[in-house]
Symmetry: C2
């Protein structure tokens, strides 16, 4: 769909992504909206698989989000399949939209001898148009025939099938130390939202054995440290969905390897989250905003988010302009405790400000040198406590305007 060139922040190639025992995936070209490309992915999961989900905080949720919430409750956190389409978000489609999501789940469940509420559904694409569900029905035989254990090529095909304005497919994996098991996942997203083509989605799989409640707790904690720490444009989609499925097929009980599992899960989630920022619409720089010295971690996070969401900070970054006054202003608007007269600011390793005034010996030249790179680090110490947090974002460029002011035509 996208004619855009690949993001300058993209990895050189799709990374090697490990197989997860028990998971089988397939893709197909259903023609939901796009032609000439795959646009639907089916992930089949073995009986006994537990599943956890976190979803958008939007109050105008898309129908598949409503269906997933229902299904997770009805199945007590178990699933046999995840089906995802791109091209249509099935959002703002009323009761008919919910019936479409439910119908899709029933069709897949029937083919797999499962219950409808054991099939999770995600959709991403245009808002406010009815999803032509018959096209997904028609693609189902090809999907079922194509199911295979995901090798790196299959993961990449899956990631490509669920993409919309993405300029590269996103995947990551990590071994669970001390076991033969892995965590592996794919994601799509090129903005916290690009609502016409909507959303960020991530599907993460593991072959450790994990109780449903533990899976939900692990996922929620990991989302807090990964996807909830990124922002492209401060907008929130109607369809954001992150699912974690644990097949248990490796025979490794997560309970005995919880620290290793969490570490692997966090690594995969953070990698995928970073890849979404690296594919941020129009992005030319990957930016880590770290706040220290806040009243607590939540305050640090709110301040870091205010800096990361500030259009004026983001446009300055696009220009490699060491305009740290804009960081001061963003800290000031965050509504969190900060001591203006103890504020310190760093751009990369160069300290711009200390104790609320320009830092003696500050070199704008050295700060600019750092800002001319692709990977930017901003740090602010607000001087009131021990709270700290990092938020990842990208710059705001003409490319963002091009993509979003001209998208539907």
């Amino acid at each position: 769909m996208s004619e855009t060139r690949v993001s300058p922040l993209a990895p050189a190639a799709f990374p090697p992504v490990a197989t997860v025992a028990g998971v089988r995936i397939a893709v197909a070209a259903a023609g939901v909206r796009y032609s000439g490309r795959d646009d639907v992915m089916l992930a089949e999961l073995p009986p006994g698989t537990t599943v956890a989900g976190t979803f958008t905080q939007s109050l105008c949720t898309a129908a598949p989000v409503d269906w997933c919430r229902h299904a997770l409750a009805a199945s007590s956190g178990h699933a046999r399949a995840i089906i995802v389409n791109s091209g249509n978000a099935n959002a703002f489609t009323g009761a008919a939209g919910y019936r479409v999501a439910e119908h899709t789940a029933r069709s897949v469940a029937g083919a797999l001898d499962a219950q409808a509420h054991e099939v999770l559904v995600a959709s991403t694409g245009v808002i406010g148009e009815n999803l032509p569900v018959e096209r997904i029905d028609a693609a189902l035989p090809a999907l079922l025939a194509g199911l295979s254990a995901p090798d790196p090529q299959a993961w990449e095909a899956g990631a490509a099938a669920i993409g919309t304005t993405d300029t590269f497919p996103k995947g990551a994996s990590a071994p669970v130390a001390g076991t033969s098991a892995h965590v592996a996942g794919i994601a799509k997203g090129s903005g916290m939202i690009a609502p016409d083509m909507a959303t960020m989605l991530a599907f993460v799989f593991t072959d450790v054995a994990l109780g449903a409640e533990t899976a939900q707790e692990c996922l929620a904690a990991s989302v807090e440290r990964s996807f909830n720490r990124i922002t492209v444009d401060s907008d929130t989609s109607t369809s954001d969905t992150v699912l974690l499925a644990a097949t248990g097929v490796s025979g490794c009980p997560a309970d005995l390897h919880m620290a290793a599992f969490r570490k692997a899960l966090d690594a995969v989630m953070l990698d995928l989250a970073h890849q979404i920022v690296r594919d941020g619409e129009g992005a030319t720089k990957f930016v880590a905003v770290t706040v220290t010295g806040a009243a607590d971690d939540a305050a640090a996070r709110a301040i870091a988010r205010a800096v990361a969401d500030s259009p004026l900070v983001k446009t300055a970054l696009a220009a490699s302009d060491a305009n740290w006054g804009r960081i001061v202003a963003a800290v000031g608007k965050a509504g969190q405790r900060a001591d203006r007269d103890r504020l310190s600011i760093w751009v990369g390793d160069e300290q711009c400000a200390s104790n609320g005034v320009p830092h003696p010996g500050y070199s704008e030249e050295r700060a600019t040198e750092h800002l001319l790179g692709r990977n930017i680090e901003l740090r602010v110490d607000v001087g009131v406590g021990d709270g700290q947090a990092t938020i990842w974002t990208c710059d705001l460029t003409h490319g963002y305007i091009d993509i979003n002011a001209g998208y539907r035509t």
Copy 2:
């Protein structure tokens, strides 16, 4: 300073602005940062003038804001002068910055036989550089010699002197019905913040007689209905300042004409606020976002602000793209009660959505026709109550990126 062409949303000419009895103003070229233009304005007020102020909610306030807060308290809301410079915001300048503001107040007070705390100071411009106060001192004799009752030309000169990235000077006035008195004011601002040149400022004068506490109450209420209802880019400056000075020289006690006074004050404040949006950085469209059917007025305002601040809504407006799905997404992220399945959306008079689905007979062509104009109206009914509010904003264009990604060079 600005080489930018005048905003396409600017009024055809500076409006006729009424004289306010007792107020005298003067401008001078102090060379604080700019050369070849006036950059300092002095407004002299007669003994007995009451004054009220509202300031930025930023926690990293500029020194002049701190001084004004101190002075208003120390004088019990009385003032003899307001002095304003452009080119340097005296922000993030530590204790030295406060001494500069205080020194400026003392210099003016000495010349007018007043107390230092009867002189209010505002500064707008670059952040984090010491203000060369000796240049203001040097300009003081010329300012004192130039004081005169402000005719329309003098108001325009005052508005021009306090401007930074503004592309046109901003003034407005209104008669207080049933009296010989007026409310008149000037403002600067081209973003809620453009921190390198910072800020929005407004100075409003009246010759009604108004107690200091009443003045503060009237100003605060009017700010809520005007300056607090606009957004250009969601950023908040370190220096935002709105002052209201009441000379009483007309002999009309506001107490006897309170409704007429409030009406005139609101008219001037809203006019100035709209002019700031019309000069929004890169703006090509003036946009009113009205939310109805919210739980209460505060909820309506939060939802309207979420729509008005959404980069995706603003870029769609720039492209005259009737992409109402982005409005749905913005409503969803506002964190306020809304019934997705009762949501209705209008672009101008064209209804796009009703009851949470596309409106029957919706014509994208008619919606686009409205969006091709300069004055845009968006309306959302969220279907849960009687709360309503309007927020004014502008679109997000390549011009915004140009101005903010290249400003300091």
